[in-house]
Structure formats: C-alpha cells, structure tokens
C-alpha cells in the first residue's frame, strides 16, 4: 500500500514538473514572477542587511580619514563641474552643427537607478534581480549599466522587480567594437563558469589588429544597446576557425561579482 502511494506521488510530481517545463514562455514567465513574488518581503531584508554592513564599515573609519575623503571628493567635484561645463558647450556646438548638416539630434540617455537584491542561485546562469519593475517604467531588453561599464539587459519585468541577464551569460550577446584604427566589430560570447568577468569577443575579422589594452565599447548594431557604453578591455586575441576569424578575450569593466547599484537606460536615440 505504502509503495503504491509512493509511486502515485512520484508520478504526480513528475507530471506537474513536465507540465511546468513545457508551459508557453509567457505563461511560465508570469508564473515565475508570481512564485518569486513570495520572496518580496525578504527583498527589503536583503537591502537592509546590505545597508547595515555598509554603515558598520563606515563606523570603522576615523575622522581624519573622513576629512581626507571629503577633501578629495570636493576637489573631484570641482573638476567634474569644469568638465560638465565644457561638455555642455560641446553638446550645444554639436547640436548646432548637426542641425546645419541635417542630422537627427541625439537624445540624451534617461536612466533609472536600481539596487541589486538577489543573484541567480544556479551556477550555470548569470543573472541578478533588481528592485525596479514595470511600476518604474522598466521594460524587457532595456540595457543595464554600472558606473564602470555595461552590465547586461533586462529579461523579465515584474511590478516592483526585474531580472537582469548579465554580459557573459549564454542569453546575453552584445554587439561591440574595438577601439582600434579599423573599429573592428564583434559580438560578446560566454564567460567561463569561474571567471565571470572575462568574456569572449567573437566574429572579429581575420585581419583585425587587436592588441591587449584596446578598449571595447557597445556598437548599437542590432539596436539593443546605445553606442559607446564601455564594455571592457582586450586581454588577448587569437585566430580561430582555421584563420577565418579572430576571437579575443575581454576583461569587463563592470565588477559583476560585487554589483550593488546599477542604472537601467530607459530611453536613448536608436
């Protein structure tokens, strides 16, 4: 009797799992968000624990260190103000010249700040959850960046949280160019399971002159990412496919392992 009950339960669990795995993508996505929303009360807790850790670290700083940092920030702020003033003049000049030539004026990026609350519990994906969702105007496929460089793009959006697939994940490909003379274009590939901040840059031309230290930036080919977001720096390059193309390894600027604050680009000129 017990054995029969055991097999019946196993069959029920197997059928439920089979049905869930084979659900249509949109239904599975909604169900995933519904189940994941059970963790909503805990999201605040995660943020709170990060804040407590941060404020505890702040307490350990001495007054003289704080004064020194304050002085450094003040100087940096003054320099940035001067740079912003100059940039503003360049932008005005650029807009005037573009109008004269008849080019379409470029819209500045609009960005939404977000906190990383959870990471993917599975080792074979590279995703994070952030604390902004459709309520804040977030939509699927919006690019996400950190202060250092590109992070990834939005894949699923809930009411108050979203899932971001990070660069280096098999589901996140980014068209990028190398900042060399020829501006060679490629597409980012997978990272290694252990070194998440080292990704491949594939489909570069076979004659591409790629050297360690060259910067890699997004190219807006495909229209998913605005042009010019820093991605990383070339570590090394080699010929692949019997010399038909070049493949490079790129060290990402964004520290994917310790992401805390990110920016979702909600609007830009495509």
């Amino acid at each position: 009797m017990l054995k029969k009950k055991r097999y019946i339960l196993l069959a029920i669990v197997a059928v439920v799992a089979f049905v869930l795995v084979n659900l249509p993508a949109s239904t599975a996505s909604r169900l995933r968000l519904a189940i994941g929303s059970q963790f909503l009360p805990f999201f605040g807790l995660a943020r709170f624990s990060q804040d407590v850790a941060g404020s505890t670290a702040d307490l350990a700083l001495s007054k003289s260190e704080l004064i020194r940092q304050n002085e450094l920030l003040r100087r940096e702020n003054e320099q940035l103000k001067a740079v912003a003033l100059q940039a503003n003049q360049f932008a005005q000049e650029n807009a005037r010249l573009s109008q004269q030539v008849g080019w379409q004026a470029k819209m500045p990026w609009r960005m939404k700040a977000a906190h990383v609350v959870l990471r993917d519990p599975a080792n074979w994906w590279s995703t994070v959850q952030i604390d902004v969702g459709s309520q804040q105007g977030i939509e699927p496929n919006m690019p996400v960046m950190a202060i250092d460089g590109l992070v990834g793009r939005i894949t699923a959006v809930g009411l108050t949280r979203s899932q971001v697939v990070l660069i280096g994940d098999p589901n996140c490909r980014v068209a990028a160019y190398v900042e060399n003379e020829a501006r060679d274009n490629g597409v980012t590939g997978d990272s290694s399971p252990l070194e998440r901040e080292l990704v491949e840059l594939n489909y570069l031309g076979r004659n591409a002159v790629i050297k360690p230290g060259h910067r890699v930036l997004t190219s807006n080919m495909g229209g998913n990412y605005p042009s010019g977001i820093p991605v990383g720096v070339i570590v090394d390059a080699r010929q692949v496919d019997y010399g038909l193309s070049t493949e490079a390894r790129v060290k990402l600027f964004a520290k994917l392992g310790s992401l805390e604050e990110v920016w979702v680009i909600t609007q830009w000129s495509r």
């Binding site: 017990l2 009950k5 055991r6 339960l9 196993l10 029920i12 669990v13 197997a14 439920v16 799992a17 089979f18 049905v19 869930l20 795995v21 659900l23 599975a28 169900l31 995933r32 968000l33 189940i35 994941g36 059970q38 963790f39 805990f42 995660a46 624990s49 609350v117 959870l118 990471r119 993917d120 519990p121 599975a122 080792n123 074979w124 994906w125 590279s126 995703t127 959850q129 894949t155 899932q163 697939v165 280096g168 994940d169 098999p170 589901n171 997978d190 990272s191 290694s192 399971p193 252990l194 070194e195 392992g257 310790s258």
Partner: protein, 183 residues
C-alpha cells in the same frame, strides 16, 4: 511507517524557503553558488513521510527556479528522484549516524545539479558550463555533505523545543521485586 506531521512539514518547507532566499542573497563561495536543498531533501526523506518529500521537491524546486534563469520546474524532478530513491531503502540506511548523513548529503548534492544540467542540455538549453563546472559541483557536494548533519541537529533541537518529550520508562519491574518476609 513514518506518518506526516504537519508541523514538521511546515518547518521543513519554511527552512527550504529561507535556504533558497539566503542562497540567492549571499555571494559566491570559491566561485560557487551553494545549493542546500538536496541536503534538506536527505533529512526530509530519512525522517518524514513521502507526502513531505513530494511537497519539498515541488515547492523547493519551484522557489529555486523562480529566482533563477532555469526553466520553471526543472529542479523539481531531480529533487523528487533523490527523495524517492532514498525512501526505497530508508530502512537500510544508517540515518542516525553523522558520517552516513554526510555521505548521503554528498551524494545528493552531486546528483541534483548533475541531473538538472543533463536535463537542461537534453532540453536544448545552453547553460554556462566548462571545466570550472566540476569545481563548482565539488564545492556544492562538500557544502551539501556538511549541511546534512547540521540539518539533523537543527531539526532535532527544534523537535525538542516544540514537541512533548517522551517519559523514560522506570527501571522498576513488579515481577522482579524482591519480596521479603514469609508467604
């Protein structure tokens, strides 16, 4: 036969919920995201009934997949399979011994991620794998092995807190009483 205790089932499911959340909220250990659900499944199989095992597989698997990029429901089957395979030979397993618990946790923590990966590759998904995956599985095994006896201790302490304790039977036996005097 072990019957289903609603309080025990609730506590196991609550622990699974917290474990999934903590796994997601914490960073990687030696480049690895730990998975303690197989260890919890070993505890559930050796101490509770089949319905609890089924509930843990279903809820734990769905909670894990909801926070991951895994296809929803793919973690349910490996967890259920571990539970059902262990329950077939539960009477023969030395579930009370810490070393046996460690070995069972080790094996379950190897089987769950390996089976999930194989199922995903079979389903045509493209997970991030390489030589580093073996390192990650080794760390997950070790963590699962260590966590299993800890789960037994944790739930043992909870049981002491929430359940009535059994009274030890007195050593007095009327048939062994020495009667003095004459009959």
């Amino acid at each position: 036969m072990v019957t289903m205790n609603p309080l025990n089932t609730f506590l196991i499911l609550l622990t699974a919920f917290v474990v999934v959340f903590v796994q997601s909220a914490s960073g990687r250990l030696l480049g690895t995201q730990l998975d303690l659900l197989p260890a919890l499944m070993v505890y559930a199989t050796l101490t509770t009934g089949i319905p609890t095992v089924a509930a843990l597989a279903l809820c734990g698997g769905l909670w894990l997949d909801s926070l991951s990029a895994n296809p929803l429901g793919i973690s349910v089957l490996p967890l259920a399979a571990i539970g059902f395979v262990l329950s077939l030979r539960r009477d023969l397993l030395l579930g009370e011994q810490s070393f046996a618990q460690f070995v069972l946790g080790l094996m379950a923590s190897f089987a769950a991620p390996t089976a999930t990966l194989l199922m995903m590759l079979t389903a045509g998904k493209n997970p991030l794998t390489g030589w580093g995956t073996w390192w990650q599985i080794a760390i997950m095994m070790l963590a699962g092995g260590i966590a299993t006896p800890l789960f037994f201790k944790f739930f043992g302490a909870l049981a002491k807190t929430f359940k009535y304790q059994e009274l030890s039977s007195p050593s007095f036996r009327p048939d062994r009483e020495i009667r003095r005097g004459r009959n």
